[in-house]
Subunit: 331 residues, 4 copies
Amino acid sequence: MRRIAVMTAGADAPGMNAAIRSVARRSFELGYDVLMVRDGFEGLVRGEIEIMNKKTVSGILPLGGSIFGSSRVSSEFAVQNLEKIRSVLESNSITTSIIIGDRSAVAVAAVFDANSIPCVVVPNTIDNDIFGTDFSIGFDSAITTISDALDKLHSTASAHHRVMIVEVMGRQSGWLALYGGLAGGADFIAIPEQPVPIETLATHLKQRKEEGKDFSIVVVAEGYPVATHEPTVAGRPVAGYGLAEALASTTNLSIRVTVLGYLQRGGSPTVFDRLLATRLGLAAVNAVREGKSGILVGEVGQRIAFTDLKEATSQPHVIPADIVLEAKTFY
Amino acid sequence: MRRIAVMTAGADAPGMNAAIRSVARRSFELGYDVLMVRDGFEGLVRGEIEIMNKKTVSGILPLGGSIFGSSRVSSEFAVQNLEKIRSVLESNSITTSIIIGDRSAVAVAAVFDANSIPCVVVPNTIDNDIFGTDFSIGFDSAITTISDALDKLHSTASAHHRVMIVEVMGRQSGWLALYGGLAGGADFIAIPEQPVPIETLATHLKQRKEEGKDFSIVVVAEGYPVATHEPTVAGRPVAGYGLAEALASTTNLSIRVTVLGYLQRGGSPTVFDRLLATRLGLAAVNAVREGKSGILVGEVGQRIAFTDLKEATSQPHVIPADIVLEAKTFY
Amino acid sequence: MRRIAVMTAGADAPGMNAAIRSVARRSFELGYDVLMVRDGFEGLVRGEIEIMNKKTVSGILPLGGSIFGSSRVSSEFAVQNLEKIRSVLESNSITTSIIIGDRSAVAVAAVFDANSIPCVVVPNTIDNDIFGTDFSIGFDSAITTISDALDKLHSTASAHHRVMIVEVMGRQSGWLALYGGLAGGADFIAIPEQPVPIETLATHLKQRKEEGKDFSIVVVAEGYPVATHEPTVAGRPVAGYGLAEALASTTNLSIRVTVLGYLQRGGSPTVFDRLLATRLGLAAVNAVREGKSGILVGEVGQRIAFTDLKEATSQPHVIPADIVLEAKTFY
Amino acid sequence: MRRIAVMTAGADAPGMNAAIRSVARRSFELGYDVLMVRDGFEGLVRGEIEIMNKKTVSGILPLGGSIFGSSRVSSEFAVQNLEKIRSVLESNSITTSIIIGDRSAVAVAAVFDANSIPCVVVPNTIDNDIFGTDFSIGFDSAITTISDALDKLHSTASAHHRVMIVEVMGRQSGWLALYGGLAGGADFIAIPEQPVPIETLATHLKQRKEEGKDFSIVVVAEGYPVATHEPTVAGRPVAGYGLAEALASTTNLSIRVTVLGYLQRGGSPTVFDRLLATRLGLAAVNAVREGKSGILVGEVGQRIAFTDLKEATSQPHVIPADIVLEAKTFY
């Protein structure tokens, strides 16, 4: 008899509830017991675990966030609390854990696996930085939020040329900036992977002004290294304002800044994310049924793919080079 | 020197303008001339063709419909007007046509190809019935409209059990019903590929009522064969109302009908469709650059794929069997 | 000490939860007890009533439908169950009931009032057919759904002239059709208050076609009397299809039908409805505080207005004549 | 014979195109000539004026921004260019100008009026700071953008308490912050009209944390005076980050900032704004027909109201005291 514990871990992202629902519905269908863990690994350590039924997942498909709650912990947390975790799972007769979450959740799952605690991971993060799946659940919803913002900015034109800087999430990577910017028709996309001198950007914007363009929209990832200096407010970098200052010091362009922040994590999942969450949740339970463990369930080339957690944690998820190249056609 | 004619053909769908923009931007980048054809093949026969510039495609990315206009003609139309078409293309020194459109457009393009008129097709239809691409541009936008409708219906619960029937497009196929229904959490999905006796549906709905569910949402494709009889209004079948009548005659459930109709063709394309249109438009021009012709440019397994037009027209695009099976978990 | 029972009654509508939240928050602030009644008057008769706390209303502001559930009953139901109702209210020491709902709810409240059961009504119906308030909560959300649908239809143009008929709610009145149609730029609006011969509509549409318009959008209220005949399906009139048939028999226009149905009741309330619900809910509690009873709390000319329930039930809420006149400028 | 010049002036706002369309449609109906002026008063001075026809306003109802373009100039600009303006208007035989715009546009119109240049103003600004109308066109759309953002933030909850600061527009006034915050269920709203010590806010947020609330959302107007210091980036104040720094220095709360910026000016107008624009545009032409001039056309208490431009420019549009008071119930 299978008894599955389900939890959401790491930063929350759209589609977590859709994934929970899919795991639960498939488990009910197979006659498995399903238990929910509150607040991710922190709740697991505290033993906050309870049985789920059909009512638990009724109506949650379109909801943003996670009805279970989530928490972000490091892999050290898992190492330090390993016996506590093992004891909670054993006392609840859990045969496998299904962990829905981000890169930090994959790292913790790898600790589980290295210590013979059965687990399967469903990748769910707006950052799309997990190896083993073309797209993580939540990414499409986040770039939709970015693209919607660019649509709104596009509709507000000015007689005089104005530059709109939109800061999006992405400390190490430009996934969100590049895809969101492409979908929203950005006029320049600044990603950490490809820093350019501020003069290059300034020249590009001045050219657009000379071509008679009403305005320019620049999308910048929060982790983009602004060359001249790096302003921080309340201890956090503000790449959008940093870029605004740098541009203001070398051009006479009129510049406005929008910082999307946590908007990108919120909202109802898109259809793409709902279908992906549904598919991956179902595949995760099927993997459990087949006795698989220590794997991440992803979709690669439109097909379900299983990746060993050691490989998933050791590899970065790099933006395909051809997409980066293609993007250049549009700015 | 390349001179490309671009046209949108068949029923319109979200993403046509995004595809036009991508074709144009890549052509400008390569130094090609690009000409726009008004109203699809009808406009082509009438010689309504003019040169495009950067202004033509400025700001069109988020727009629904097609800025060129479109028209649906049969392949016979192409056969009958072949010399006129050839003459218009030659007098404008067109080296290749890029045709953005639905299954009827593919059929016409196959006539072009069979008669040595160079062409490349970009699949763009909400029906997703074109062989050679996992998804056609526009499909994701249409299932988003369906899913949004189901979200709205879900939020309006009643004390007494009520059945909401939502009729969606799909004469021969359940692509829209199945994917839209899955994403929106439908409680039953009736697709032409898998007719069930009305008693089966009635029993399913009565069971849900007995389980204490507030209501049930049934998604039905317009081409679903309602067994008992087939009502038509103004010469068209109305599967939604047909199903309502059939259910009303065998149960005492309270039934309401929503018919989405052309809503599904409209609206701004989703991020998925914008990115797909951008990618396929770009790949179409690259194919022209490499001297390819008589092909459809699709995306299969996340990679650009070229399919011979003979193959594209001779094969149906069947819903994957595993998806149909997976869907059963949810209703 | 005040003890308030809150219930939602009649057909559900966007904004009910926002109104519940406002009533509860204001009551908590004043130190009143607030109790929730399940499923409207049916739940009241069954004694399904329980105490509310801050948690009950946390996060409900944006939710569609009613977290309490609702039910539609006639005023006879109230007459027949009067002693049961009185007994439930007394046994729970309720001093006043706040009833959030539609015209049927106002009728029941009038029975309460006539029998000395203290009550205050907050008007909440997409039909906007309640006398005593310029706008009922939910109306703006419903016309937003209609207008969004028209926006989508506008974006899907055809080379050949096509007529899109959109059937909206409104058995007796054209409130939804007129306001939704005006906001969405309809080309003709057919309301029960002003039937026109089918020939007039046909002529109007043919003129538009001759003027070179790509298409026409006709909004029709479900209660619009289609002259030639009145088709029904599953026992309900289908004005949209009726109009399609009538037009098809006198013109050669290509006609498509969309039936919005219960979509109009669903979805998150608009900002307008949230603010109105917040304001009226608060005013209802303030009215209770001042000892008022037997009244409806509305907003007239941007100011809170109290209307005696006898007056509210005896008067129709007529569309202002100047709006009907103004609308003619646009079609 | 009337010949009307229409222009949009000041910062752009949703609904400008809806207002243009209404002015044009009513003018066509009355047989007046209508001319459009490009880029507001700057275009007027340059003589950029041309005749409009039905095609000009076809399909513009849902579009954000202004199809004419706009520009913000001071009343001094009008004084300095008065003879040029008079000459352009006379050479085009303009009998009246209809000016759609913000407070700066009202100021310029007052200069026109003081110099016997006939004009009528339609108030259209997200700031809602124009005296003579309960609501300016565009305000409802902007608070919808704010409320949507708060809905998204609400859906992304954290296990640990987190404070989300959302900076909205409003240099001098809290209209946007108060109404947008109320509609979106903000937990604290900081408006310039009512500065509070940072300690008061810190205490409020700590209390919420102690009550077990997952997170708090604070809406702050950009003009809110953050007591401790006033950070600027690129020469502009950043109240959101200023508040974040001030809170970070007195609490150990985890704080995140979103800056909506120009998003608030963009996007398709809401139904409320479309109906208001339609009504005020129509009333403006009717006023011209009746020979009125030097007035602003607003809606007060749901009725069309005319305000003398001298009065409109001399009075501030103050947030009603009862709304400010009511808001306190919710945070």
